[in-house]
């Protein structure tokens, strides 16, 4: 498998505080990866860096088969390159319907003029229909997304992510605030997605991570502390000390 994203030697300092410290990370096509670590370990900041929200002080980020550098590209450009992101707090456009949210996310031309003259095609509507079925929101297509429950918003956001058809999905704490049944559904969605693309999931809940059944990276103080199978990292004494033991 070829490497899709390669982050090497990246550091970020906020007001003298080193949030990310010489971090290296790589993920292959169609790979699922979980990132765990204590609060403030730099997990969200890592996603900020990859998606172009935060510029690193040093390091390299290479992307895709052509190994292009993501440093210096705008957030929108990086998204169009094929990196989709789900935020820790569900962020959907609450004032708009589920359908409008999904249509906006669908992989189509993004320029103002193309969007101005855009009319949904048959296959776009079919795709929205199909996606809303997958995320269990078929009946809610015409509801304002602000009316959805917390879990439903999380799913809508995952649906929007899938609609973008990214090659890499970055998912920040998708199961936060979900009921056990909702968590199970979310796991299924992510495992399904990872069959055809790379998925990185940040999660606190060990049970959730176990069900993903993938390689795990442990972050601590902005650097990788351990990497490997869940059993491997949970047996690591350092990991137990800084994260599990507390």
């Amino acid at each position: 498998m070829s490497t899709l994203l390669e982050v090497s030697g990246v550091s970020v300092t906020f007001d003298g505080f080193k949030a990310i410290n010489n971090l290296s990370f790589a993920i292959a096509d169609a790979e699922m990866r979980a990132i765990i670590g204590p609060n403030g370990a730099g997990k969200t900041t890592f996603m900020d860096i990859v998606t172009g929200k935060t510029r690193p002080d040093e390091g390299r980020i290479l992307w895709g088969d052509a190994n292009i550098s993501l440093l210096g590209l705008s957030e929108a450009r990086i998204a169009r390159e094929g990196i989709g992101r789900k935020f820790q707090k569900p962020t959907v456009f609450e004032d708009q319907t589920v359908r409008e949210n999904l249509l906006m996310a669908l992989r189509n031309a993004r320029g103002p003029l193309q969007v101005l003259f855009y009319r949904p095609r048959r296959e776009d509507l079919d795709r929205v229909h199909e996606l809303s079925g997958e995320i269990g929101l078929l009946d809610a297509l015409d509801r304002k997304s602000g009316e959805l429950s917390h879990g439903q918003k999380q799913w809508l956001e995952i649906g929007m992510l899938l609609a973008q058809e990214p090659r890499l999905l970055l998912v920040d704490e998708p199961a936060a605030g979900m009921t056990p049944a909702e968590r199970e559904h979310t796991t299924a969605l992510l495992v399904e997605a990872a069959k055809s693309r790379a998925v990185v999931v940040i999660e606190h809940d060990m049970e959730f991570v176990r069900r993903l059944g993938c390689k795990v990276t442990v972050l601590h103080e902005g650097a990788v502390l351990a990497e490997g199978s869940l059993d491997h990292v949970t047996a690591n004494q350092e990991v137990i000390d800084v994260y599990l033991g507390r």
Partner: protein, 410 residues
């Protein structure tokens, strides 16, 4: 295309019908129709108000829908007025000069005519030379192009600089105020080439139509203003109805999220900012011939703030709200400031509305912002029974039991 617009905005047809009836009613009651129930000066006031409604619709697009609180759109409105004013003044002076020189024994050369026009127009600022910006003033077609081009280019350059540097929120508003202030101060100078604080005047007289009474000219402009408002309204409704509308409302509510969907947010902002500036220019070009005069005071920063107040009071984020706000506030304002409102005698102190109107307007603005953020347009929701659930930002309960739009509508 149009079907989609109407399906998503049933209010468009209602609006067009109301506007049509209003136009017809005023026309039939005008001096032009011979009934004289509505005086020519009132026709002009109403025609001007239609232009203000058009610029308010533009403001709603940029602020209510895209979330850019521009406090500079009246500058674009004024520039549109200046551009048409230059042609009106040049051409009319040309007519006067030619007829007065016709009595001279030797027919004047073209250069002498131009020099005489320059003398007439720029005498008040102690000059007689035509500044370069008047190069096209003899061509109606070119000046009409400039009506959209000049505001468009200024908005594009300003927007490009501001949005590219990700200036947002209050900082952007302050920057737009600085832009209008700078423009007004520049125009106040006598050597700005636009007659300094004298501005351009006599704009109510159409060149070559001296024999046509103002009662006719005023009704023509009234129709043109109504037509422009109708077109601008339908265009805006079309822009906000489709995916473009989704994207700009997304930018208003969470621009970072829109970026992560891959949309070039800055380009969208620049697009909306520039297009609305052009619409404002057109509105201004129709307004000032009805006002008769334009001077730099029109572009003062406060004018753009009023524009925001109209849209806020009328209800932003809905196009008819902007129209209602512009009509309501500007007509009430001219009633209060025109001395028609009776003074209130409090014994010790007499409230003269001419002085106190601004205080009242300010208080209404604060009251609307705090108590009725949907503005007057929100009353329409009461009437159509569209009540949004008041969630105070909380989620609507767990999955199945959530309040649905249908329930919320009861």
């Amino acid at each position: 295309m149009s079907q989609g617009v109407l399906a998503k905005n049933p209010s468009v047809l209602t609006f067009l019908a109301v506007l049509g009836l209003f136009t017809l009613g005023v026309t039939l009651m005008s001096e032009w129709a011979g009934t004289e129930i509505v005086s020519t000066s009132l026709v002009k006031t109403l025609g001007k108000t239609l232009c203000l409604a058009l610029v308010a619709v533009a403001m709603d697009l940029v602020w209510g829908y895209t979330g850019i609180l521009s406090l500079g759109h009246f500058a674009f409105f004024g520039l549109g007025g200046y551009m048409i004013g230059m042609w009106l003044m040049y051409e009319r002076t040309h007519g006067i000069v030619v007829s007065s020189l016709a009595e001279a024994p030797i027919p004047p050369t073209e250069a002498e005519v131009v020099a005489a026009i320059g003398n007439q127009i720029f005498g008040v600022v102690g000059s007689s030379e035509f500044p370069p910006i008047w190069a096209f003033a003899d061509s109606l077609a070119l000046q009409l192009v400039l009506v959209v081009l000049v505001p468009g280019i200024l908005a594009f350059v300003f927007g490009w600089l501001a949005f590219r540097s990700r200036v947002t929120g209050v900082y952007l508003s302050i920057l737009t105020q600085a832009m209008t202030l700078a423009l007004a101060l520049y125009l106040f100078q006598n050597d700005s080439g636009l007659r300094g604080n004298n501005g351009l005047s006599g704009l109510q007289n159409l060149p070559g139509l001296d024999h046509v009474p103002q009662s006719s000219i005023s009704i023509w402009f009234f129709w043109a203003s109504a037509g422009a408002l109708a077109l601008g309204y339908v265009l805006s409704a079309w822009i906000v109805s489709g995916k473009f509308g989704s994207v700009i409302r997304g930018i208003r509510d969470n621009e970072a999220r829109v970026r992560f969907l891959g949309y070039p947010v800055e380009t969208y902002k620049l697009f909306v900012f520039t297009v609305t500036a052009m619409v404002a220019g057109i509105a201004g070009a129709l307004y000032y011939p009805q006002a008769g005069i334009i001077n730099p005071a029109e572009i003062a920063p406060i004018a753009s703030i009023y524009l925001a107040v109209w849209v806020a009071i009328g209800g932003r984020g809905r196009l008819y709200g902007a129209v209602i706000g512009a009509f309501f506030v500007s007509l009430v304002s001219s009633w209060f400031t025109g001395g028609q409102a009776p003074d209130v005698n409090l014994g010790l102190y007499t409230i003269k509305w001419v002085d106190w109107w601004l205080v009242l307007l300010g208080l209404s603005f604060v009251a609307v912002t705090l108590l009725a953020p949907k503005g007057i347009g929100g009353l329409v929701d009461l009437w159509t029974g569209r009540l949004a659930p008041d969630r105070h930002g909380a989620d609507l309960g767990p999955d199945a039991g959530s309040l649905r739009e249908a329930e919320a509508e009861q």
